[in-house]
């Protein structure tokens, strides 16, 4: 009998599932070596069927998405129990990713923003309810938790595969290792390892030339009249997250003239990606007087959202103080 494979999405966008399908014919290897036991994006299996499975009967579960709702938490705990190996797959499960940015506000502010903004028509100021009586019975929605948490803040995690989404060639390499393990041709990597990524920073892989940096203005890419195709983007005044971000993507964005936005998370040895970026950016600003420094910093209207775009939920502070205070 083939070992069982599962993939589940919690607070995520679905991009991780697409990235897995982007491995093209490699997905056939997956099918040849595993029985897919549970994968809501690809096939219909009910939660209660997972609940009925024996504990640890799934060999490996790729879990993408952060923990935003009670349902996410329930599924994380359930799949932890049912799986021998639980892999935090993609940036959301590892670091909260874009959904984690909501940690900068409270639940109330999230609802206000989503249901009462200038582009919505909601004169009665309706909000989603966790239970609603209709003629057929009671409809329920899982409650939103105070903050987004990462998978390893909720259950024990065996491996980490970073990236938003993980690059397809990296996914294929990780699947190859799993298949080799199943065939008895390879040992499992040490528990807690980061798989499918590099062990240096994006800058290290970036082919652009680097020199002494003197930034006297931080711009958005559309504000630059011309973009040099050879020179470091940070040197050209674009906020690039390469210095603090883990390699593994072959510096895909800087290669085509877009600054790194940090999706592979903190580089090895970096405790807090945003703090390291603050250190890096502030170091190269070419100003000494407070007013001049502030003029340069005005080019970064949302520093927390920029420095922690992917890693807020796994950072040292994790969330805004008011949001954290709502935690049970």
């Amino acid at each position: 009998m083939k070992p069982k494979f599962a993939m589940y999405w919690a607070a995520a966008c679905g991009g991780c599932e697409i990235a897995v399908l982007n491995i093209d014919e490699k997905v056939l290897d997956l099918d040849a070596n595993f029985e897919v036991a549970f994968w809501p994006a690809a096939m219909d299996v009910k939660y209660k069927e997972v609940e009925a499975m024996e504990d640890e009967s799934i060999l490996v579960t790729l879990f993408n998405g952060g923990i935003r709702t009670d349902e996410n938490e329930h599924m994380a705990k359930l799949l932890r129990r049912k799986s021998k190996l639980l892999v935090a797959f993609g940036s959301c499960a590892n670091e909260g990713c874009i959904p984690g940015l909501a940690n900068l506000g409270t639940r109330e502010s999230i609802f206000d923003c989503a249901f009462d903004n200038p582009s919505t028509e909601n004169p009665a100021h309706l909000r989603p309810q966790i239970a609603c009586q209709v003629p057929e019975g009671v409809l329920t929605l899982p409650p939103l938790q105070a903050v987004v948490r990462t998978l390893d803040q909720v259950v024990e995690v065996d491996y980490h595969v970073p990236g938003c989404p993980p690059e397809s060639h990296q996914i294929a390499a990780v699947l190859d290792v799993l298949i080799a393990v199943v065939k008895g041709e390879a040992e499992l990597p040490p528990k807690g390892a980061v798989l499918g990524a590099g062990d240096t920073s994006v800058c290290d892989e970036c082919p652009r030339s680097r020199d002494v940096k003197h930034i006297d203005k931080l711009s958005r890419i559309q504000e630059l009249p011309v973009l040099d195709t050879e020179v470091c983007l940070l040197e050209q005044g674009l906020m690039c997250s390469g210095p603090a971000t883990r390699s593994g993507c072959n510096s895909r964005c800087p290669n085509v003239g877009a600054p790194c936005i940090g999706c592979y998370g903190a580089a090895p040895g970096v405790l807090d990606q945003g703090a390291r970026l603050m250190a890096a950016i502030a170091s190269v600003i070419d100003a000494k007087e407070p007013e001049a420094i502030d003029r340069v910093l005005d080019g970064l209207p949302d520093p927390a959202g920029t420095f922690y775009r992917f890693s807020l939920a796994h950072s040292l502070l994790r969330a805004n103080r008011a949001a954290l205070a709502e935690q049970e």
Binding site: N22, K26, L104, R149, T150, D152, Q153, H160, E167, S168, H169, Q170, I171, A172, A173, V174, D176, V177, P189, P190, G192, A193, V194, L195, G196, A197, G198, D199, N250, A266, P268, L271, D272, A275, R276, M278, A279, I281, A282, S283, I285, K288, P290, I293, D294, L297, P303, A304, G305, H314, S315, L316, L317, R318, A319, R321, A322, L324, A325, Q327
Partner: protein, 161 residues
């Protein structure tokens, strides 16, 4: 003993000026509140914002950063770097709901024991008024192990994938 709140403040001082200012305050028997725990760095430019976030997330109510006066840095201009990092940190911390008074940057030369003591006294009073920070993020999170990367995993080239 009174029940008033005693804030815990972590002070990062530079080896050449502000740490010596604290030393001078000691030898001159100038009193300042005992709420500050000083950590000596070689230079205020060594201050990584990570230190500040770690202090605040693990129980400190405030962080004091003290360096040499502008133009007087032992390493030429690293205190300007500290200034830039401080201003950037203040903007970022505001988005986390942390008041600016909790992270203070000050300059003190080796001769300014009295000024350093005044700065500390003023900061302790400000943070005392703000109350405990008590950052509620202390979930046990294991840091991702350093260097534990799948170096042995053959990474396929993009064409194959």
């Amino acid at each position: 003993m009174t029940d008033q709140f005693e804030p815990v403040i972590i002070g990062f001082t530079c080896n050449w000026c502000s740490y010596r200012a604290a030393d001078l305050a000691g030898t001159a028997r100038i009193k300042y509140p005992p709420n500050v725990r000083l950590i000596r760095l070689m230079c205020s430019g060594r201050l990584d914002p990570t230190f500040v976030l770690k202090a605040l997330s693990e129980g400190a109510d405030g962080v004091l950063i003290a360096g040499c006066h502008p133009g007087e840095c032992h390493y030429l201009e690293q205190n300007y770097k500290a200034l830039r990092r401080h201003r950037l940190m203040q903007r970022t911390l505001a988005q986390f709901g942390i008041e600016p008074e909790r992270v203070r940057l000050t300059w003190a030369s080796a001769a300014e024991g009295a000024k350093f003591a005044e700065d500390i006294t003023e900061m302790v009073e400000q943070v005392r008024k703000l109350g405990p920070l008590n950052w509620p993020a202390n979930l046990p999170t294991k840091p991702v192990p350093v260097g534990m990367v799948a170096a042995e995993i053959p990474v396929l080239s993009e064409e194959v994938a």
